[in-house]
Every structure is written in structure tokens, then in C-alpha cells.
């Protein structure tokens, strides 16, 4: 028992003395765990559960990803601290402590740490959670929340505690196995030996391999894949790029500086002499953290850009689905199968008048659209495939150009033998200058068109000159359709009336339906109708997508914590390495200012590298994330680009602030000696 007390004391003393490493560690992991707490508490929250089922599922996925990240941070930081303490362990060994004893001290430290993290994360999580609970509800556009609807979650506490216990066990075992007390002298000299430069030819091979992997990943992210398969492609591309990032960082940088060093004229200049070889020395170790920085930073930008992009596109998306307050869709059986009739046209015109005359509605606009699945053949002909499996085909949306212009404030002008064509996947339209539909061939004008996002597949939008052309196409295209059992999408010519309300409160329930039935009752037509109200739809899409922003914000906070930890620990590790070097250089006759100037420059170069990789990765990932976002909402490329810029600026800001803050620690440690 007394022995245990000694260990407890020793562990506590050690923890106190390692403030530089331990305080950021506890704060960062504590914060990461509090975020996990909040997430689990929200998933567990009755108020949320009742209202946003989809969000709960999304958050569960988010919580799993976050859990993995948090676990990695925890292990990374703990192991970093461990590696910085080799000398201390070697001294224990020299004083005659056994592995078991050192292991016990480490175990006690781990347990104390875990308790501290659990307390911190639960406290912060509970308080911060209340604030974020309100924020989440704002994002989902629920207005009637009370703070008391976010009670303390014992479930979240229990899960966090469980994770911490599991991690502590892993850590203790890991530390025990890597504890090497047999050769203490070697440990004492560890920073001097065992870090030999890799052979150049090996570096060339690995570096080129890494570059190849990155470029392959980039290529994959750009290439044509159907939206459904692109998730899979994205995962593969991501893995390739991540591996490539590590290989390139670990090898190419060192090769560059080796190259510089072999240029004698350049190398044997005072500042180059010190900085080139200093860089090479730094590059022998810790390059993994540079690669990790690049990966994390890329993650931050992508997560922020995509989640913000989705959120700020919601209104755009809403507008493209619901140009006005109300939307009345009418599908006439006669219209299908190419038997479009003049009467239908007249009836719709009459209906338009009826609505305009109603005291509740105003600003009625006519519109017609046709939706059908199909593909484009080699000889540029539209092929109808009702049994088409959606992995290879597209969805075609035909739309009247005037209605489109009015809806989106555009001024496309086309002749009756022309089409304006746009798609949510540019690859589909590559080289398409004409399009044959039935027996007619149309000239194709390419344009970026707003495409409703309700269809999570590749979609081609085609603007036609007038309703007659649409009917023409309908006749040519739909007359051969025979409905079958396996049909996924019904081809349909939809006639739409969009209109606004005078006062949303006063519209009686079923008013639109009443007007339609009155007008069409005697016509003998077979028809079906669908009345959509924008405000109701808004509620739906915010519920579906508002949570994405929320999860995105949290995921990016966790990633930013990761960036912070890696930058900070990298600086501390560098400082510890540089301490002895700096004092020797001074003794040999190097001005203090020059040393500081050079080390500053080196650190800057070192930390710019991950940024270069990050921005390269982000640019490469842009098309595929655009596609992913297009699946959920109908983003405008300008808004989407803006959210990317925003995310980039945010990352730069975080990066430089953390860099500046932690370089203070660096100089303090270096000068200390």
C-alpha cells in the first residue's frame, strides 16, 4: 500500500512537471470528449428524438466518426508525451526501478488523467451543450425551445466513461509493451542515434509512389462516375490521397533538401549551410505530424465548406423546387403516351384564371415539365429506358424556357429547333452538340441550369422553346412506353401552376383542390394533382439538412482541435530537439540573432508544407464534393465557391493563430538552455 502511495506521489509530481505537454493535452482531449458528450446527449435527447428522426441518425454517424477521431487524438497525444519521456524512464532504470514499477506509475498517471478528462468533458459538455442545443434548434428552425429540454444525460456520461476506460486500457498495455528499460544508456542517447537518414534511392521510390497515389486520387475524384457510385469512389480517392500525403511528406521534402545540399556553391553559405542541414535533420523525424496536419487541415476545409455549402444552398434549393408560395402539379393521363390534346391546354389556362380570380391567391405562373429516365446513345440520341437501373442512366427534366427564365431571372432565348441543356454532372454532356429525340434533331446550347435536388442521381435538364415542342417531344418520346412492373420512375408530363398567397394565415384548407375540382369536374379528363406549399417544404428540408451543418460544425471543431494539438506538439518536439543544437552553435561562434532568424525561417517552411498540400487536395476535391452537395440540395456554384473560400480563410486563420501561439512556447524552450 505504501508502495502504491509512492507511485501516486511520483505520478502526480511527473504530471505537474510536464505542464508544457500535459496542459494542452488535457484541455484538448477534454474538449474533444465534451463534444462527444454533447453529441451523445443530443442523440439521447427526447425533444430532438421526437422531432428530427433523420437528424438523430445523422448524428449517430457523426458521433461514431468523432469517437474515432477523439480516440486517435487521445492515443496520439498520450504517446507523444510518452516518447518525450524516454530519458526519464532510462533514469528510473538506472536507479534500479523495474519495468513493472514504471508501468505502475504510468498506469496511475493514465487513470488520473482519464478522471480529469472525464470531469472536464462532462462539466463543459453539459454547460456548452445547453447553448448548442438552442443553436441546433435554430438551425432546424424550431422556435419553441427551452433550456430545460436539454437535461443532464447519464447515458452520455456512461458512454464517455466507457470509452475512456477502454482507451486507458489500450494505452497502458501499449506503453508497457514499448517500455524498454534494458538498455537505458541507449535511451539516454536516443535523440542522437537511431534516426539515420533514409537512403536516397528508397526515398525516390517511395516519394514517386506517393505522388502517383495522390495524382491517382485526384484523377478518380474528377472522373465520370455516377452519383451513386461516387461515394465509393470518394472513399477510395481519399484513402489514396492520405497514403500519398504521408509518403510524399516523408520522402520528397528530404530529397529536395538533399539536392540543395549537394549544390556546393549554394550550400556553403552561412545561412544556407545551417538551414539546409537543419531542415534535413528535422525531416528525419516528426514528418508524420506534417502529413497529419495536411490531412486534418484538408478535413477541416472540406467539412466546413460542404456543411456550410449545404446550409446556405437550402434557400436556393427551395427556390428551385418552389419558385412561389404554392405549387400545383397536374398530371393528365391523356397527356402521357403522346396523346397531348388542345383541350388540356385550354383547361389549364382556365384554371390559371380561376386562381387569379380567387381572393386568396395572386401572381399565377404557368409552367410545364416532363420527367423521364433514359440515357444518351453514342450517336447522340435520347434513349428512353423505363426499366433502366439508375446506376447507368440519367433523369431527364424538360422544362419550358419562358417559365424557367421567369423563375430564375434568366434570359435564355431559343428557337424551336434548339435546346438549352445543363446537367449536375458535366461529364454527361461532353461533346454533345446535337441531340436527337424521336425523329427530330435539335441543336444543343450548353448552360449551367438550376436543377432540383430531389433526385439523388445524375440529372439532365433541357429547356425547350415552347409548350408545343414539349408536346412534340412527348409524342415522339413517350408513345412507345409500355408500363412495366420494374419501372423506377414514371415518365410524366407535368403541368404546373405556381402562385403566391395574399395572406398565408387566411387560406382555407383544401382551397386549391376545390378550385381545381370545380374547373375540371365536367371535362371527363383523368388527372391527378399535387399541391405543394413552400413553407411546409421549408420545414422539411431544414429538418433534413440543418443537422448537416450542425454535425459539420462539430466535426470541424474536433478536426481543428487536432490541428491545434499537432502543431503545438510538433513545435514542442522541435524545441526539445533544437535546445542542445542552439547552445553548441553559439559556442562555435554563431550570432544569436542569426540562429534565431534561421530557426524561425525553418519552422515557417516546415509549417507551410502541409498548407500547400491542403490547398492542392481541396482544389482536387472540389468537383466531387460539388457533386455530393448537388445530391442533397441544388447549390449555386457561386454560393458553393463562397463557402469554400470561407472555409479556407477559417483554416488559415486557425492555423496561423495556433502557429504563432505555439511558437512562443518553442522560443521559450529553445532559449531556456
Amino acid at each position: 500500500m505504501t508502495k502504491f502511495k509512492t507511485y501516486f506521489k511520483l505520478a502526480r509530481k511527473n504530471m505537474k512537471s510536464m505542464g508544457n505537454i500535459r496542459i494542452p493535452y488535457v484541455v484538448a482531449t477534454g474538449l474533444a470528449f465534451s463534444i462527444l458528450y454533447i453529441f451523445i446527449a443530443l442523440i439521447d435527447n427526447a425533444y430532438i428524438r421526437e422531432r428530427a428522426e433523420f437528424l438523430v441518425r445523422l448524428m449517430m454517424a457523426g458521433a461514431v466518426i468523432m469517437g474515432v477521431f477523439v480516440a486517435i487524438f487521445y492515443l496520439y497525444t498520450s504517446r507523444f508525451a510518452f516518447s518525450q519521456r524516454q530519458k526519464e524512464f532510462a533514469l528510473y532504470a538506472i536507479y534500479g526501478m523495474e519495468g513493472r514499477d514504471v508501468g505502475l506509475i504510468l498506469a496511475v498517471e493514465t487513470v488520473l488523467n482519464s478522471l480529469l478528462i472525464l470531469a472536464l468533458s462532462t462539466g463543459v459538455g453539459f454547460l456548452l451543450g445547453k447553448v448548442l442545443f438552442v443553436l441546433l434548434n435554430r438551425l432546424l428552425q424550431y422556435d419553441d425551445v427551452r433550456l430545460s429540454a436539454f437535461p443532464f444525460s447519464t447515458k452520455a456520461l456512461a458512454i464517455n466513461a466507457g470509452i475512456l476506460v477502454a482507451l486507458a486500457v489500450v494505452l497502458i498495455i501499449w506503453n508497457l509493451f514499448s517500455l524498454n528499460l534494458d538498455r537505458p544508456i541507449e535511451q539516454l542517447r536516443q535523440d542522437k542515434s537511431g534516426l539515420k537518414q533514409r537512403k536516397s534511392y528508397g526515398q525516390v521510390i517511395l516519394g514517386v509512389l506517393g505522388l502517383g497515389l495522390i495524382l491517382t486520387g485526384y484523377q478518380l475524384a474528377r472522373s465520370t462516375f455516377n452519383i451513386v457510385t461516387s461515394v465509393f469512389v470518394f472513399v477510395i480517392a481519399t484513402i489514396l490521397v492520405i497514403i500519398g500525403t504521408y509518403l510524399v511528406t516523408n520522402n520528397i521534402l528530404a530529397l529536395i533538401f538533399k539536392g540543395l545540399r549537394s549544390m556546393k556553391g549554394l550550400y556553403y553559405k552561412p545561412s544556407n549551410f545551417i538551414s539546409f542541414s537543419g531542415m534535413l535533420y528535422k525531416l528525419r523525424s516528426n514528418t508524420n505530424s506534417l502529413a497529419s496536419l495536411a490531412v486534418l487541415s484538408t478535413g477541416v476545409i472540406l467539412v466546413v465548406a460542404v456543411s456550410c455549402g449545404v446550409y446556405i444552398s437550402l434557400e436556393d434549393s427551395l427556390k428551385s423546387n418552389y419558385p412561389q408560395d404554392y405549387k400545383l402539379d397536374l398530371v393528365f393521363d391523356e397527356d402521357q403516351h403522346g396523346q397531348a390534346k388542345e383541350e388540356i391546354k385550354t383547361q389549364v389556362l382556365a384554371l390559371e384564371k380561376d386562381l387569379e380570380a380567387s381572393p386568396y391567391f395572386k401572381n399565377v405562373h404557368r409552367d410545364s415539365q416532363m420527367i423521364c429516365p433514359g440515357s444518351i446513345s453514342q450517336d447522340k440520341e435520347l434513349v428512353l429506358e423505363v426499366e433502366n437501373n439508375l446506376l447507368t442512366g440519367y433523369l431527364f427534366l424538360f422544362h419550358n424556357v419562358d417559365a424557367y427564365n421567369k423563375m430564375f431571372d434568366k434570359d435564355f432565348a431559343i428557337a424551336s429547333d434548339e435546346l438549352v441543356v445543363g446537367a449536375n454532372n458535366d461529364e454527361i454532356l461532353k461533346g454533345l452538340d446535337t441531340l436527337k429525340i424521336g425523329d427530330k434533331t435539335y441543336k444543343v446550347k450548353r448552360a449551367e441550369l438550376s436543377i432540383p435536388s430531389i433526385y439523388a442521381i445524375d440529372t439532365v435538364k433541357i429547356l425547350v422553346a415552347e409548350d408545343d415542342v414539349l408536346q412534340d417531344i412527348a409524342r415522339n418520346y413517350l408513345e412507345n412506353v409500355q408500363e412495366t412492373e420494374n419501372q423506377v420512375f414514371k415518365p410524366a408530363l407535368v403541368r404546373t401552376l405556381n402562385f403566391d398567397v395574399e395572406d398565408a394565415e387566411t387560406v382555407p384548407e383544401g382551397e386549391v383542390e376545390k378550385i381545381v375540382e370545380n374547373e375540371l369536374r365536367d371535362s371527363g379528363e383523368n388527372y391527378s394533382m399535387d399541391v405543394g406549399i413552400r413553407d411546409q417544404h421549408r420545414q422539411n428540408i431544414y429538418e433534413l439538412n440543418g443537422g448537416i451543418l450542425f454535425v459539420g460544425i462539430f466535426l470541424s471543431i474536433v478536426l481543428i482541435l487536432g490541428v491545434f494539438l499537432v502543431i503545438y506538439y510538433k513545435q514542442v518536439a522541435e524545441a526539445i530537439q533544437d535546445q542542445s543544437q542552439v547552445s553548441i552553435m553559439q559556442a562555435v561562434g554563431l550570432e544569436n540573432e542569426l540562429i534565431l532568424k534561421i530557426t524561425k525561417k525553418q519552422m515557417r517552411y516546415l509549417f507551410i508544407w502541409p498548407l500547400i498540400l491542403t490547398f492542392s487536395h481541396v482544389v482536387a476535391a472540389y468537383p466531387i464534393t460539388w457533386k455530393a452537395v448537388s445530391m442533397l440540395v441544388a447549390p449555386q456554384s457561386k454560393t458553393f465557391l463562397r463557402s469554400y473560400v470561407l472555409a479556407g480563410v477559417l483554416l488559415l486563420l486557425v492555423y496561423f493563430i495556433v502557429y504563432e501561439l505555439s511558437s512562443g512556447t518553442y522560443y521559450r524552450l529553445v532559449k531556456h538552455e
Binding site: 542522437k192 535533420y281 559556442a587 562555435v588 561562434g589
Partner: protein
């Protein structure tokens, strides 16, 4: 005029008059002639390293002054000090103090590069020190890839490659076994005899000190005694040094 003149040098660490102040040196006066090989001995904590640091302008005395070649070190501006240290002094430390980020050759060239020496001259000077030190085989290796004795010879090469006026060595054999120590001392002897290199060396080893022309004994920060080699050979000189050490420690010669 002597190459090095130390006049009434005193050094107090910490604030004067406070309880934490330590007087490391007091009224130290001596001089070293050109081409002389002087050893400094004394107990641990007697102030040897402090003295050497002051001579090497790594530290400032609180009292007195040091002249090298007639120039008062305290008048050197901050900027000149690094240059002075680089060009006029050579240092050898107990722990070699080689930089692991350079290979051995670049470690040796470091002071020359810092002084913007032309490449051709650097090469010539390198060749000139490589031969007597027998370090040809280790030049392309890194400091952590060679033995202690080899590393110390690299450190000596770095110290003398600038043809310094004064070579300062703080326990250069402290981390070496006896055969490496002996070979290092032979190198010092050669440098001193063949190249007229002035050397000031702190050592705890009687055998090492016996290579010098003169041994200074320091006790509690003061020069306590000095003995000259005269016509003695190493063995006899060693004997006399040992006896002086015993006296220094307050012992009697007969037990």
C-alpha cells in the same frame, strides 16, 4: 608581450551581496605566452569552467579584465564577439559538442563557412587538419556514428581549422578511455610542438596535465600554485603534479 593576459579577474554568480551569490573566481591573474601549453587543475567546483568561459568570451567577468593579443575582451561589441570567438579562438568541450545535423566534415567546416571562407581555401584547410588528426575515414559519417575518441578528434579539428590564436579545452579527455586520452594528448603535443599552437586545457587527469609546459592549480576560485615542467620528462612531471594535487587538497605527502 604575452598572448593572453588575465588581470584580477573575479566572477560572482547571482546578485552581489545576496545569499544566493556564489563567488566562482577571485583575483585571478596569470598570463600565457605564445606557443605555450598550459594545463589548469583543481577540485570540482573550483571555478575552472567559469574561467575558461570567460577567456572564451562565452561569459563576462564581474571584475578585472582579459587581454588577448593586447585587446581587451570587454571592449568587444556584441556583434564582434561571435566573429572573435570564431576566428581567434578554438573550443574543445568534454562532450564534443558536435552538431548532429551535419556530417563530420561539415562540422569541421562550420566556423569557416560562417566566416565566408572561399571554397578552395576551406578544402585546403580541411586537408591540413585531417592528416595529423587521422580522421580521413570518418569525414562523411555523422557525429552519432563514430566513437567518443573519434568524435573528440573531429571536435579538435573544428577548433583548429580556423588557425586560432588560442585553443581552449575543457576536460577534453573527460569522456574518453585511457588509450583515446593518450592519443588525443599526443595530438595536442604535436599541435603545440609542430604548429606552435597555444593551448589552455582544463583537466582532472594528471597524465593529461603532464603533457603541458606548465600546470596552474585553482582552489576556491583563486590561483593556488603553478608548476613548470622544466627539463622533466612526462613521468617525472606527472609525479610532481600528483604531489602538488595532494598538497592542494590539504593532504600530507607522506601517507
Amino acid at each position: 608581450m604575452a598572448l593572453l593576459e588575465v588581470k584580477n579577474v573575479g566572477k560572482i554568480y547571482g546578485k552581489k551581496g545576496t545569499a544566493s551569490a556564489t563567488e566562482a573566481l577571485c583575483q585571478v591573474t596569470f598570463s600565457v605566452e605564445r606557443g605555450e601549453f598550459v594545463a589548469i587543475m583543481g577540485d570540482s567546483g573550483s571555478g575552472k569552467t567559469t574561467l575558461l568561459n570567460i577567456l572564451g568570451s562565452l561569459d563576462q567577468p564581474t571584475d578585472g579584465s582579459v587581454f588577448l593579443d593586447g585587446r581587451d575582451l570587454s571592449t568587444l561589441a556584441k556583434k564582434q564577439i561571435s566573429k572573435f570567438r570564431r576566428e581567434e579562438l578554438g573550443f574543445v568541450f568534454q562532450d564534443y559538442s558536435l552538431l548532429n545535423n551535419f556530417n563530420n566534415k561539415d562540422n569541421i567546416l562550420l566556423p569557416l563557412v560562417l566566416s565566408n571562407t572561399p571554397q578552395k581555401e576551406m578544402q585546403e584547410r580541411l586537408m591540413a587538419v585531417v592528416a595529423p588528426l587521422e580522421i580521413q575515414d570518418y569525414l562523411t559519417k555523422y557525429p552519432y556514428e563514430v566513437s567518443g575518441g573519434q568524435a573528440q578528434r573531429i571536435a579538435v579539428a573544428r577548433a583548429i581549422v580556423t588557425y586560432p590564436k588560442l585553443l581552449l579545452a575543457d576536460e577534453p579527455t573527460g569522456a574518453l578511455d585511457s588509450s583515446s586520452s593518450q592519443s588525443l594528448m599526443r595530438i595536442f603535443q604535436t599541435l603545440n610542438q609542430n604548429y606552435r599552437q597555444t593551448i589552455l586545457m582544463v583537466t582532472h587527469s594528471v597524465a593529461a596535465a603532464a603533457n603541458a609546459h606548465r600546470v596552474l592549480f585553482i582552489k576556491d576560485g583563486r590561483i593556488y600554485n603553478e608548476i613548470y615542467r622544466g627539463e622533466d620528462n612526462n613521468v617525472r612531471f606527472e609525479d610532481r603534479i600528483a604531489k602538488s594535487l595532494t598538497l592542494l587538497n590539504g593532504g600530507s605527502l607522506h601517507d
